[in-house]
C-alpha cells in the first residue's frame, strides 16, 4: 500500500502564498499527472511530497503516517536535469542506491554482495534499454538516455512513490513517445504510485490514471501575493487505467506494455 493523503496543505514563502488549501487523496498505484500554468506551485507541491520542503500548514500522510521531514528511500525522484551523478558510469549510477543502503560506512559493496547487486542493476538497465552503455558516463549519453538512467536509478530502490518533475520536458517528440511507452511499462510492473508534473497535456492524458490541475483562482496582480494556487480540476481518465491490468477497451493503448514493444 502506498496511498498519499494531503490534508488542507498551505505553502507560503515569506509573505507570498504559493499553495492554498490543497486536499487530495491519491490512491495506491495511481498515476497522477499534475498540470497547471508556470509558477503555480507544481514543483513546490512535489517537493513537499519529497520532503525537501515542509508544508506551512496542513499534513501529508504516506500510508497513514506523516511524511518524514527529509527525503528518503521510500520516495524516488527524477528531475528534469541533474538527476544522475556525472562522476559515475551508467552501472555506477544504478548501483549506488544498493551500495549506500547495504554498506553503512564505506558506501561500497565487495565480493559476492557486489556481484549480486550488479546482477540486479544490469537487469534494470536492460529494462530501460541502456545495456549497450553500461560503462559510459552521463556526459556521453543523450538527454533521453540520461532520463532513462535516472528512472533505473530511482527504481532500484523499489520506492513506494515515484515523483517526476517534468522528466521528459526537454526531450524531442520522437524520443518522448518512446520513453512514454517505457514509463507506462515501468508503472505497470513496479508496485509504486506515480506523481508526475508535466506541461504536456497529451503526456498527462496518455500516461495518467488521473489528471490534477493546479491554478490560481484569483490572479489579478494585486492578488498575486495574498492568494495561492489550489486544485481546480481533478479529472479521472476514462476508461479507467489500472496498474498491472490490461485495459478492456484499449488494451493496446492502456494495458501493460509487452516487453520489446
Amino acid at each position: 500500500m502506498s496511498g498519499i493523503i494531503v490534508e488542507k496543505v498551505w505553502k507560503e514563502y515569506g509573505d507570498q502564498i504559493v499553495l492554498e488549501d490543497i486536499s487530495i487523496e491519491i490512491e495506491d498505484r495511481a498515476f497522477v499527472a499534475l498540470v497547471g500554468p508556470s509558477g503555480c506551485g507544481k514543483t513546490t507541491f512535489l517537493r513537499m511530497l519529497l520532503g525537501q520542503e515542509q508544508a506551512t500548514r496542513g499534513t501529508i500522510l504516506l500510508d497513514g503516517v506523516p511524511l518524514p521531514k527529509e527525503p528518503g528511500p521510500d520516495r524516488g525522484v527524477v528531475f528534469q536535469r541533474y538527476s544522475v551523478f556525472p562522476h559515475l558510469t551508467v552501472l555506477g549510477n544504478v548501483l549506488i542506491g544498493k551500495e549506500m543502503t547495504a554498506a553503512r560506512y564505506s558506501g561500497r559493496l565487495f565480493g559476492a554482495a557486489r556481484r549480486a547487486a550488479i546482477e540486479e542493476a544490469r537487469a534494470l538497465i536492460a529494462e530501460v534499454g541502456l545495456s549497450h552503455a553500461l560503462d559510459k558516463y552521463p556526459a556521453q549519453l543523450s538527454g533521453g538516455m540520461q532520463q532513462r538512467l535516472a528512472l533505473a536509478q530511482a527504481l532500484i530502490m523499489k520506492p513506494k512513490v515515484l515523483l517526476l518533475d517534468e522528466p521528459f520536458g526537454a526531450l524531442d517528440p520522437g524520443i518522448r513517445a518512446e520513453i512514454h511507452t517505457l514509463m507506462k511499462r515501468l508503472w505497470h510492473e513496479n508496485p509504486m504510485t506515480v506523481v508526475m508534473v508535466t506541461h504536456d497535456m497529451r503526456e498527462a492524458f496518455t500516461l495518467a490514471t488521473r489528471v490534477v490541475a493546479f491554478e490560481r483562482l484569483r490572479d489579478r496582480p494585486e492578488e498575486k501575493l495574498r492568494y495561492g494556487a489550489t486544485i481546480s480540476r481533478d479529472i479521472p481518465i476514462w476508461p479507467p487505467r489500472r496498474a498491472g491490468e490490461p485495459s478492456l477497451i484499449r488494451p493496446d493503448r492502456d494495458g501493460p506494455v509487452q516487453k520489446g514493444q
Binding site: G72, I96, M100, G107
Partner: protein
C-alpha cells in the same frame, strides 16, 4: 572571416607557442653581448658560456666542501618542504571545505572565520612562526600550509555548495546518509576541482617557500639564490630561477594529467 573564428593550424599553434620564448631568449643574448662588448667583466647579463660553466658547477660536479651536488640537494630540500606544506594544506582543505560546503551548522560556525583568516597576509606571520616554531623545517612547512590552505578551503567549500541541489536530494532518496553522501557524491566531485585549485596554488606555495628559505636555511633553491646574490652571481641565479619555473610547470602539467587519468568524467563534463 571574423577574428574570433580564425583558428591556427596545429603547426601554426606550435610556432606561436614557441615564439615568445625565442624572442625573450634572443633579446637576452643580444643584450648580454652588447654589455659584454662594453665591459668583459660585466656580471649583470652573463653570456651563455658562463651559464654552461655555472650549471656544470652546480648540477654535475660535487661540491668541494660537502661532497654533494648542490642543485640536487637544494631541489630535494625545497621539494620536500613544498610538498609537505601542500600535503597538509590539501588534507585540511578537503575536510574543512566539505564540512562548510555540506553542513549548514558548520558553515555558520566556520565560513566567517575562514574568510577572515584568508585575509591575513601569510608573510606577516613568518616572524611569528620563526619565533614560535624555531628556524627549522617546521616553520617553513607551516608558512606554506598557512599560506595556501584558506583559499583552498574556500574554493572547495564553494565547489561543494554549487553542486546541484538535485543531486544531493537524489542521493537522499537513494538511501544515503550524510556521511555516505559526503563519501560517494560530494568528495569524488570536488576532487578534480581540488587538483585544479592545487595547480593554481603552486605559484603562491613557491613564493612562501622561497621567502622562508631566503631568511633562514642551510639548503634549498631559495636559500641558494639569496646566498649567491651577495656575489652578484647572475650565472647561478638565472638557471636556478629557470629550474624553479620548470619544476612548477612540470607539477602543473602532471597534476592536470593526473586529474584526467583519475577522473575521466571531469574532462567529459568540461566539454559539454
Amino acid at each position: 572571416m571574423r577574428w574570433i573564428n580564425v583558428r591556427p593550424s596545429s603547426g601554426m599553434r606550435l610556432t606561436l607557442a614557441v615564439a615568445p620564448f625565442l624572442i625573450v631568449l634572443g633579446a637576452y643574448v643580444a643584450g648580454s653581448a652588447a654589455r659584454l662588448a662594453d665591459n668583459a667583466n660585466d656580471k649583470l647579463l652573463p653570456g651563455l658560456s658562463s651559464f654552461v660553466d655555472a650549471i656544470n658547477r652546480m648540477a654535475v660536479v660535487p661540491d668541494g666542501r660537502t661532497g654533494q651536488i648542490l642543485l640536487w640537494a637544494d631541489t630535494a630540500a625545497s621539494l620536500t618542504r613544498l610538498f609537505s606544506g601542500i600535503g597538509i594544506a590539501v588534507a585540511i582543505a578537503l575536510v574543512v571545505g566539505m564540512l562548510i560546503g555540506m553542513l549548514p551548522t558548520m558553515r555558520a560556525l566556520l565560513a566567517p572565520f575562514v574568510a577572515a583568516i584568508s585575509m591575513v597576509p601569510p608573510l606577516a606571520l613568518l616572524p611569528i612562526l620563526f619565533i614560535v616554531m624555531g628556524l627549522g623545517e617546521g616553520s617553513k612547512i607551516a608558512l606554506i600550509a598557512i599560506g595556501v590552505t584558506p583559499i583552498m578551503i574556500r574554493d572547495l567549500a564553494l565547489t561543494a555548495t554549487t553542486l546541484p541541489r538535485e543531486q544531493i536530494i537524489k542521493a537522499e532518496t537513494l538511501g544515503g546518509s550524510s556521511w555516505q553522501i559526503a563519501l560517494r557524491v560530494v568528495l569524488p566531485q570536488i576532487l578534480p576541482r581540488m587538483i585544479d585549485t592545487l595547480r593554481l596554488q603552486i605559484g603562491p606555495a613557491w613564493l612562501f617557500l622561497i621567502a622562508a628559505e631566503a631568511i633562514s636555511s642551510e639548503a634549498g633553491l631559495g636559500y641558494r639564490i639569496f646566498l649567491v646574490r651577495r656575489y652578484l652571481a647572475m650565472d647561478v641565479i638565472f638557471p636556478y630561477v629557470l629550474w624553479i619555473t620548470l619544476l612548477a610547470v612540470a607539477t602543473d602539467y602532471i597534476l592536470n594529467r593526473l586529474r584526467i587519468a583519475i577522473f575521466p568524467w571531469s574532462e567529459l563534463e568540461k566539454n559539454t
